[in-house]
Symmetry: C4
Subunit: 278 residues, 4 copies
């Protein structure tokens, strides 16, 4: 596929600048408008789902939703039109989110209620964050992301063990408690085990027999205790992620002895006393 | 606005000393009285809201409340009178709290029940802590505060992601579960999503369908897992805040330039290169 | 008061050895007997409170309880008799626990049900741990204890802030929700606020109005987030407590350059290469 | 007992290779088949417990279960046949799990419902992980395991204290609340205390009296606070476990004795004193 990168000065180039960049005043205005539109539409979709409000203000809310959807549709088409590689954009994460943000409203013509799915456009807020170049926040987000990525493997191992535990616990409770207490099947009991071990505890299903309460007590204490594991993993990785950032600032080497890791405010090498220079 | 700082020896100076300072015996007595009055009035307001107690002891409780409110009003007027910059005080955090602490009782003449708002005077306890110069505790509070301030950005990023997740989850549950299970609208479902992901789990709304329970299980596991993120952030920042305090105590001073905060293994002053000696 | 330390070889000395020490075979046997008696009596008291079991085995359970209580009473008297400073023992932590462990059964003659308080003798298990000289566990317990003591001040500051928050939140919910939803008084609402912010979430009281649910959502997110604070404090202090233990093992100084903090397995100073000796 | 290690080239040797190893294509195919069979059978057993599905697809699900059980039985017999020390295998962890994975289905002929226990074969998934030599994941799992093992002692001390607390709290609530609120016996109250202190909070039993609510509030705050302890322990141990792994990668080898694991700032080998060079 050919590269259709817009030529500088062309209309497509100007559009690309407004829609994808945030440096120019027009680009900033575009982003602010989009931000307001997203929040407004999420509120409109949410309020429309409330029966009382729908009866009174339904027409107005539907109108807002359609206007924003049509605006987003035009924006989507323009994005496709002015981007260098339209197909690549369409298959990118944000391209798919942009499409998913407009489809539900059109579907609502055929399937009543599907417009609720339009709240998925809340994900578009992520783009705003990106476009606004909230540098400081992105630095923090990157640190979080790095820590999450490196802890992913450990947390996968942990989750695998928890899922096995939850299935066995659910089956045991199904056998002990039986249908009367609400443990009507193994999947239902596994659902109860998840509700219990995550310490959510709705109470819609709760053990009634002595044996069930005993097993449930053990499950609760385990669930209460093992939250320490992902927390510990995350903390260690975050500490490391922060240290990497900090270490990156400590690579000033001493011209005398070559030692690194000097404090940011050091003027002389702490090992041999040579001046570190400006 | 002119500076109306009270002249030493004047009545206003003496009053300022009693009300704002805690060094003199009179100042200390004033603070202890205020402490007792705050706790007494919070208890009185709380007890008055209990129907049984109100019927039996209502008059006495109302009396206590009015006496304390009038005392606090006089105190507020005196503070305004003896402080150097009355307007600046009135607009400060504690000035506003002091005003909010007396307004509800007066409002209760016109609006029944508004006296309950008087519990806001509990915030005045913070002033006591400040005035009492609980140095050691303030040191701890400052460490906590510093860690909280530095983790605020990371936690904002985290909360933004959680809120987006909660809105999308709420809308999905609204579509899957429908009105019968209590998921009557998207805002209601978002409320359920918050109750679930924070592991509170009232159980007033709970999924009934298989799909809903499956999605809820995933939400619970995510909610159970992501508590690791703020905890990890806070731990790392607290560790850093404590290290800063500890570092400040590394008082090996350089014989050349007098600078402190050298690493335990440093042989030369990192600022001027003078040998630090054995 | 005179020191009545038992003379070596006397009957009192021998008794003291059996009851307070665990080195001799007789002392060990005594401790094991006591361990079994405590667990047995806690189980007996617990089972007696179950209506079905009380009807069937009540007499036997009461008998076990009385036998153990009389045994503990004799033990208490003997402890008083053979210890050097009886009054000092009687007022010590374990002296009071030993007394509280026998009083409830005697009280049950006059006040039906007070024997349930006898479970307080579970605290006596702590003595067993101490007597058994479970050194390794005590090392761990001391590390935990030290971390808890140093974090106590920070956690007091934190708890003070949380309590103020909980009172204000409770009063606000009382005003917003009113009697119908179960928020019948401020103390009741404060109870709800504690149930919610600790993420327990019984669901016996839950907000019904839109405003109440909104405020509750904020309270839940705050409660979910601020658990990071005590966890962070504890982690940092535990890390420090462990480091102190580790550091204590690193005080080997280099005979050549005097540098300390060598690894436990180091044979030569890592700064000057001098042998560290055996 | 004689060592019956299969001779290379024999049928038993080939079988051993397929069943216990995963290097050869046949061994890999065997493991994948087993993985699919385990997941399939856990799903089949779970679905069979759902009344609606059992009525419609019961025969098919039972068939799947029996086929897989017979396959697992044959596998178990073959494992016994081709392993060097059959008795040792039979008494090993995986040997017992392999047996427990097939027994429930046979028992279901005599005891209706016992087939639910067959979900225990989910534990067999652990073997798959082992066989697949998921090295990276196993590395993570080992780090987790090491951290868990070293924190076990501290967590045992902590759990002992919590259990004592829970028993005393349960007995106190039993006395305060009485039968009407659901606190029908001490074991029941202890169950409530566990549900509360782990912040699960079903709400099936909840305090009704003022005293009970006050005590419950304290219990909740303690439960909310002490989760900091296992989390702190785990974090510190995980940090240490990670550091050990990281240290092992500090492979600056000494030119004199070849020893690694020198500190980043070491100038001389800490084992033999040879200069480590620049």
């Amino acid at each position: 596929m050919r590269d259709l990168t817009p030529a500088p000065g062309s209309l497509r180039f100007r559009m690309h600048e407004i829609i994808f960049e945030a440096e120019t005043p027009a680009g900033k205005a575009f982003d602010v408008t989009m931000l307001v539109a997203i929040i407004l539409s999420v509120i409109a979709v949410s309020l429309e789902s409330v029966a009382d409000i729908r009866e009174q203000h339904g027409t107005m809310l539907r109108l807002i939703e359609w206007i924003i959807t049509i605006a987003f549709t035009i924006e989507y088409v323009l994005r496709l039109a002015c981007v260098g590689r339209p197909l690549r954009y369409a298959r990118s994460f944000f391209g798919i989110v942009d499409l998913l943000a407009i489809v539900p409203t059109y579907l609502s013509v055929f399937f009543v209620g599907s417009q609720s799915l339009a709240v998925i456009r809340a994900i578009r807020l992520l783009r705003i964050a990106r476009v606004f170049k909230l540098v400081r926040f992105i630095g923090e987000a990157e640190q979080l992301e790095r820590a999450m990525r490196t802890s992913l493997r450990k947390i996968t191992v942990f989750l695998g063990a928890v899922l096995t535990l939850v299935v066995i616990l659910g089956a045991a409770m199904y056998l002990i408690e039986g249908e009367e207490s609400g443990f009507t099947s193994i999947p239902q009991s596994v659902y109860w085990a998840i509700v219990t071990m995550t310490t959510v505890g709705y109470g819609d299903i709760a053990p009634q027999t002595v044996g069930g309460k005993f097993l449930a007590s053990i499950a609760m204490i385990i669930g209460y205790g093992i939250i320490a594991v992902p927390t510990g993993i995350m903390t260690v990785e975050l500490g490391k992620a922060r240290k990497v950032t900090a270490d990156a600032q400590l690579t000033r080497a001493c011209p005398g002895c070559g030692a690194a890791r000097h404090d940011p405010d050091a003027k002389h090498c702490k090992f041999c006393g040579t001046s570190l220079g400006p």
